[in-house]
Assembly symmetry: C2
Homo-oligomer: 427 residues x 2
Amino acid sequence: MKKYVELTRSEAEALYERVKIEYEEYKSLGLSLDLSRGKPNSGQLDIADGLLRMPIDKEIFYSDSGFDYRNYGLVDGIPEAKKLFGELYGIAPENIIVGGNSSLQLMYDALARAMMFGTCDSERPWCREEGLKWICVAPGYDRHFRITEEMGFELLTVRMTESGPNMDEVERLVRDPKVKGIWCVPKYSNPTGNTYSDETVRRLAAMECAAPDFRIMWDNAYAVHSFTEDDDRLADIFAYAREYGNENRILYFASTSKVTLPGSGVAIVAASDENLAEIKRHMGTQTIGFDKINQIRHVAFFKNADNVRRHMLFLGAAIKEKFDITLSYLDELRGTDIAEWTVPRGGYFISLDITLGTATSVYSKMKEAGVTLTQVGATYPYGKDPEDKNLRLAPTYPSNKDLRMACEILVCAIKLAALEAILDKHS
Amino acid sequence: MKKYVELTRSEAEALYERVKIEYEEYKSLGLSLDLSRGKPNSGQLDIADGLLRMPIDKEIFYSDSGFDYRNYGLVDGIPEAKKLFGELYGIAPENIIVGGNSSLQLMYDALARAMMFGTCDSERPWCREEGLKWICVAPGYDRHFRITEEMGFELLTVRMTESGPNMDEVERLVRDPKVKGIWCVPKYSNPTGNTYSDETVRRLAAMECAAPDFRIMWDNAYAVHSFTEDDDRLADIFAYAREYGNENRILYFASTSKVTLPGSGVAIVAASDENLAEIKRHMGTQTIGFDKINQIRHVAFFKNADNVRRHMLFLGAAIKEKFDITLSYLDELRGTDIAEWTVPRGGYFISLDITLGTATSVYSKMKEAGVTLTQVGATYPYGKDPEDKNLRLAPTYPSNKDLRMACEILVCAIKLAALEAILDKHS
C-alpha cells in the first residue's frame, strides 16, 4: 500500500470518505470490547487448572525437616520453592526469597523499606533526602512508574531501543547522585516485547553510579514467557554485577502470575547476600511468613523447572494465537507509514506507534466505537506521551471473535485519524 | 501452701535443698521442649483440613458478577469474603478490605503508608516529623512493639489492667501531639488473655488526642477465640467512635490465622470510609490484588459466620485442654505468693508474673533444663521488663506429654528461683 503522506489530496479525500463510512458502520454496532487488559483469559487460566485440582495429601505439607507448612514461620519461603525457582531462573536458591502472590508488592515493599530505612548501602533513609529521581524506560510499565511517582521521585524518561534502554542516556543520568534507580523489564519487555542485549545488561551492571545505593529494579516478569521453543536469551545480570563488584545494585523480581494464576501465583525477590540480610530483617517485622501452602502447591504441581517450561509452551501457543490474529490485521497497514508496531516473540503486549502523533485521536475513535484501549500515555512517566504516539495492545484477554472485531476497528480508526491529520480535518 | 516469704530460714533452706535436687534431676534428662511459640500444633491444624481437601469446582471461582477469581483484580477483596467477615465481626462489608495471609503485614503496611504519605488526617508524612511516640500496652505483643520501634517511634509503656490499658495514663499521654497511636489487642489479649471493658473501649474512642491523625491499631486477633460458648463480649469501637466523631481513629485488624491455618489464612483491615479511600489508593499502587482463590476457598469452606463459630468451638476445646493442663500445674504454686497468673477464657497465652522479680532467673533455669520459654522482656517495649517479672506461656504447640513435663519443670524452676532470692543465693 502507498504511504499516506504521498497520497494526492483527492486520493486522500476519497479514501477518507470510504474509511469514514466504514467507521460509522462499526460505531453503529454498539459494541463493548476491551483491548486494554494485560491479563490472561479464562481459557489460558484453565491450562493451570491442575494446580487447583491437585489432590491435597497431608504429606505434601511436611518438609524433609518435618516443618508443617500449614503453620507459622519461614519468612523467606520454603526450601523446595527456592530450589524450583533457582533452577528456573538460574539463581542460587539461597539468594531467593519466595513471597506471596504479587511481585509488584515485593517491589513496592523494597522501595518502601528504602524510603523508611535506606538500603544496606545508604547513609540515611531515602525519605530524609531531597529531590530524589528515578529512571523510567519508556514505553514501559505504568504500575512501575506509579510506585516511584507516588513515593515522590522525579521520573526521568529514557527511550527504549531494540536492545533495551538507551544506555548512553542512562550512563549520563546516573552520574547524578540524586538518581537512585531504574525500572527494567529486561525480557519480552512491557509493552515493546523486546529483550535487553548482552551489551545492555553488561553496561547496566558495570556503569558508575554516583549514588552508592543505586538500585536496578529487575522485573523479569516474562522470564519464561516465550511463545515457542525459540526463546530469547537474557544475560545473567548477577554474573555481570559480581564481575564489576556491583552485586548489591540488583533487586531481581519474578512471579508465576502469568504462569499459573494471576491472582494466586507465587512471587520471588532475589538479591545479594547483603541485600537479602537487610530485606529479611525488615520483612521479619512485617510478616511472620507468606503463604507456604501455595508455595508447596506450586512445587507439587510443577516438580521441576523443565515442567514449568513445558507448561509455558502450551500457554505460549495459546497466547501466540492471539498475537497472530492481531498482527494479521495490523499487516493491512504495512507500507502506509502511518503506524509501526513490534512483533514480540514472547510476553504480553504489542507496542503500536501511531506515526503521525495522533494516538489520542485513535484512542477516542476506538472508545466511541465501543473498544477500550489502554489509556494513551500509560506507557510513559506521569501518563504523558510527549509525542502522542504510543498505544499498548493487550491481545490475550478477548475471545478470538472479539479480538478480530476490535482489530478490524483499530485498523480503521488508525487510517481515519491519519487521514484527518493529513487533510487537517477535525472530528 | 505457705507464703514463701513467711518461711523461716531453716524451712526455706530445707525446701531449697529438696527443690534443688528435683531441678538437677530434670536437668539430667537432657530434654528439648518449647513453651515459647504461640502457634497451634498439627492436631489443631487438622481441624481445618477440610479447607485444603475441599473439592475445587470451577464454579466457585466465578462471582455472581461473572468475575473469574483466578485472574487479576479486586484489590480490596471479593464481595463474598467481605460479607462473611462483616457478619463475623459485626462490621459493614463495605468498610472491610480482605487482604492476604497476614494481618501483621496489613498493620505494618498501614504504618508504612502513614510514614511515607501520612494518613487522611495528616498534614505531612510522619517521616517528616521529629520525635514521634507510640503507646504500647504491656505486657503486650512483641511483634507490635517491634514495628513501631523499627519505624523510629519512642515507645511509651502503659500498664495493662484487668479492664484493659490504664486509661488515666493513656488519656494523659495522648495530650502530647507527638503521640501518634496505640497498639491494642482488645479481646483475649496477648499475653494476658483479658478483654477490654466497655468503659475502656468507650474512653479510647472518646479521648481527646492532640495529634489529629492519632490511630488506634485495633488488632482483634482473638475475636472469635473463646474456649467455650461463654464468650467475652467486646464493645463495638466503631459505634463509639462514630458517636464521638472519631471514626478515622480506628484501624481494625483480624485474621483467620488462628481459625484455619496460620500460614494460609485470610486477613482483613476495616476502617472508616475516609481511611479506606486512602488505603485503597496506595494499596492499588502496591498490588493488583491479594489471593482471591484463598478468599473464596475460605468462603466456600465456612459459608457463614455461624459455621466459623461452630468451628471455633472445636478448636477452643482442643486449646482449652492445653490451658487446663498448664493451669493445673501452676495451681501447685497457689498460696506461695511467688507467682501470679491469668486464667484466660480464650486466646493463646497465659501471662505469668514472677512476684519476686526473678523472671530472668526462671528463664535461665528452664533453658538449662532444656525448656525454651518466650524471652523475658518480650512482652515489653524494647524487650525490657522493668520489674523482671513477666513470662508469657504458650501452651498450644507442645504435645500434652511435653506440655506436662515442661510445666512440671517450670513450677520447680519458679520455686528454686524464689528460694534463691529469699536466701540470697546465687546460682
